[in-house]
């Protein structure tokens, strides 16, 4: 039933309360205290990370920061220091790279490693996971949880099983029992909407899911039915993707107060354009399609995009597209709460492949 999958060895590494732990590491005064890293609690910020002390108050990631304050008024609120987190991320990736070159980063603090065929630790994925945890702690002073299994879905569940400082292994013969008891919302690909739908069909656990035929699941969930059928049996054929091909790149910002003045909006977009341009430059990319995202004060969301005949890469170029795109929205009459810029139709871009044609110095 598990066939070729059983031959793979996948490790999922997830840093524990990453941003909050970095802050507690760098400021001993924060240790043992509820620490919340995220946006402004006086405004519309959200929680990016909460220390374990804060989680005892029911604080979770993505929760509005204002709500977190109400749950735990004495928590320490900090703004994220992404430069520091990125540096730590770089350090842990160097450690991963010593064990395998098949690494799929999911975020700064989370990655899948395919260690199938690796010679380290006599080929034992469990020993490798332990070694990685140890190396991460001595290099960064931070704690990671690791999950080991034969596919990505189970490896991720495993890393969550004994958090914090966990190392959990799901062997092929244990998979069935593990999956059977799992609440339906914990399955890969089941978000809150699907969870509600599953519950309407009286599916609450993996065991319930497994009772239904592929035809029945496809009938209920369309193409995703196959995936649910598979995961109920511990099957997940998705490979560890070494480099995820980016299709788009963007930034957005929710304003502390709705913006009503189009000039302020253009200024905000100029700042976003610079951020997007920095990301493009870091990845040596440029894109031909630019999309403006506008969320009005009443939460209606619209996008406007334009495609150009040559790829755009600089902040000045991106900012220059904004006034005409903004003019195609209701921004002149309706206040906005969020603006975003996305660049797609990406292609590699370095000064060398900008082409041989020289340009006039137009100012």
């Amino acid at each position: 039933m598990i066939d070729a999958d059983a031959l793979r060895k996948i490790i999922h590494i997830d840093m524990d309360a990453f941003y909050a732990s970095v802050e507690q590491r760098d400021d001993p005064g924060l240790r043992g205290r509820p620490v919340i890293v995220g946006g402004n609690p006086q405004g519309r910020g959200v929680v990016a990370a909460a220390s374990y002390e804060a989680r005892e108050y029911g604080i979770r990631s993505a929760m509005p920061a204002a709500r977190a304050v109400r749950l735990c008024p004495h928590a320490v609120f900090l703004r994220p220091r992404f430069d520091v987190y990125r540096e730590v991320s770089r350090q842990i990736h160097e450690i991963f790279a010593e064990f395998t070159d098949r690494i799929e980063p999911l975020s700064l603090d989370e990655a899948y490693l395919d260690v199938t065929g690796s010679e380290h630790c006599q080929g034992s994925a469990t020993l490798m996971a332990g070694e990685i945890k140890h190396r991460v702690r001595s290099a960064t002073g931070l704690v990671a949880s690791a999950g080991v299994s034969y596919n990505k879905f189970l490896a991720k569940l495993a890393s969550d099983a004994d958090k914090p400082d966990g190392l959990h292994v799901i062997r092929p013969e244990q998979a069935e029992a593990f999956v059977a008891d799992l609440p339906i919302g914990a399955f890969h690909g089941v978000g809150s909407a699907t969870e509600a739908k599953m519950k309407r069909f009286d599916i609450h656990t993996g065991r319930d899911l497994r009772r239904h035929s592929l035809a029945q699941l496809t009938d209920w969930f369309g193409k995703a039915g196959q995936h649910y059928y598979n995961v109920a049996r511990g099957i997940d054929p998705r490979p560890v993707r070494t480099s995820r091909v980016r299709k788009s790149l963007g930034h957005e910002t929710t304003f502390p107060r709705d913006l009503a003045d189009p000039r302020r909006m253009v200024e905000a977009l100029e700042r976003l354009a610079e951020k997007v341009a920095r990301d493009l430059a870091r990845r040596e990319l440029a894109g031909r399609t630019v999309t403006l995202k506008v969320k009005y004060a009443d939460f209606r969301l619209v996008t406007r995009s334009q495609t150009f005949d040559r790829p755009l890469a600089t902040g000045t170029e991106l900012a220059a597209c904004m006034p005409p795109l903004l003019a195609r929205t209701e921004a002149d009459t309706t206040p906005v709460r969020l603006l975003g810029i996305t660049v797609s139709a990406l292609e590699p871009h370095t000064p060398e492949n900008a082409g041989p044609q020289l340009s006039l110095e137009l100012l």
Binding site: D309, E317, G355, P356, Q357, L358, L360
Partner: protein
Amino acid sequence: MRLEIQRDQLLEPLQQVIGAVERRHTLPILGNVLLRADRDQLTLTATDLEVELVAAVEIHVDEPGAVTLPARKLHDICRNLPASADIRILADGERATVQSGKSRFSLATLPADDFPAIGELHDARALRLPREPFKQLIDRTAFSMAQQDVRYYLNGLLLELDPQAIRTVATDGHRLATCDFPLSGAVEEASQVIIPRKGVNELQRLLGSAEEDFLLELDANHLRASIGGLRFTSKLIDGRFPDYERVIPSGTRQQLSVDRESLRQSLVRASILSNEKYKGVRLTMTPDNLAISAHNPEQEEAEEQLPVDYQGETLEMGFNVGYLLDVIGVLEDETFTAGFNDANSSCLVEAGGTTRCRYVVMPMKL
């Protein structure tokens, strides 16, 4: 509204304005043409919100009124009626009837009051200009406009009016074209406007007519040209055009002169084997000789030799052959003269005549 009109009398103004009707329009009414019948005149208006065309024809109107009708359908009906046909148009409420002989068409209308006509300009300056030189200013520069550049102000043509001359400038960032026509006293103060690409194309068509001169009006947001019963209005691009003078070389160290037609033919042949993406050709200038060569990724090669008047040091440069051919294509002099400084600097072509033109073309890295 009720009127009777000959088929050709209606077809001509309809054809004149239909260019402004977009095939893919965002508002249903933009697919319509506005018909306004006054006592002895019918005017037709079409717009895409960027450009507007109004044509007028003198006819007898039985009952004045205004209505909008589907532009392409009306045009197609009219075009397919016999040449000498008389057409009766009756509009009343949501339907309009177009009748000719034994043919009868009932068309859906939209209210004339909803039509986004530009109307009168505000605080416009008006000047009467000679048609032919003005058309030349546009024809000789418009090809250098950017296509869909993020620098939206480059996707148009700069029109500059000053007390001594009228000037047009277009650039896509790789090459620049500017042309001026000396004209004293047309305006008292210098001013600049940028006409969007679509407006420039319509203006070129409009100025193809036979009239001696035409009326140009400018307000803060619009350019309007009226010629022989046709009125064209374009919105202007709101932006600052770059300081173009600073990219025009003040002098060049080496001059090359060559028979224009021979150069054109050689470049066209060489371009067949140039790289399709970059369209590069190599020019090698030595005393009295110009070698033109091109090659493509398949390693095919073209080489041309031309006798030229050139006395400078040996100079090798790469150019987008399309940029050179565009310039050669709008010039009329038998001899083509270009100035160069070095392999990484722009080339300058100057040409005289009724209008004085200057072309700046940046080279390619070899």
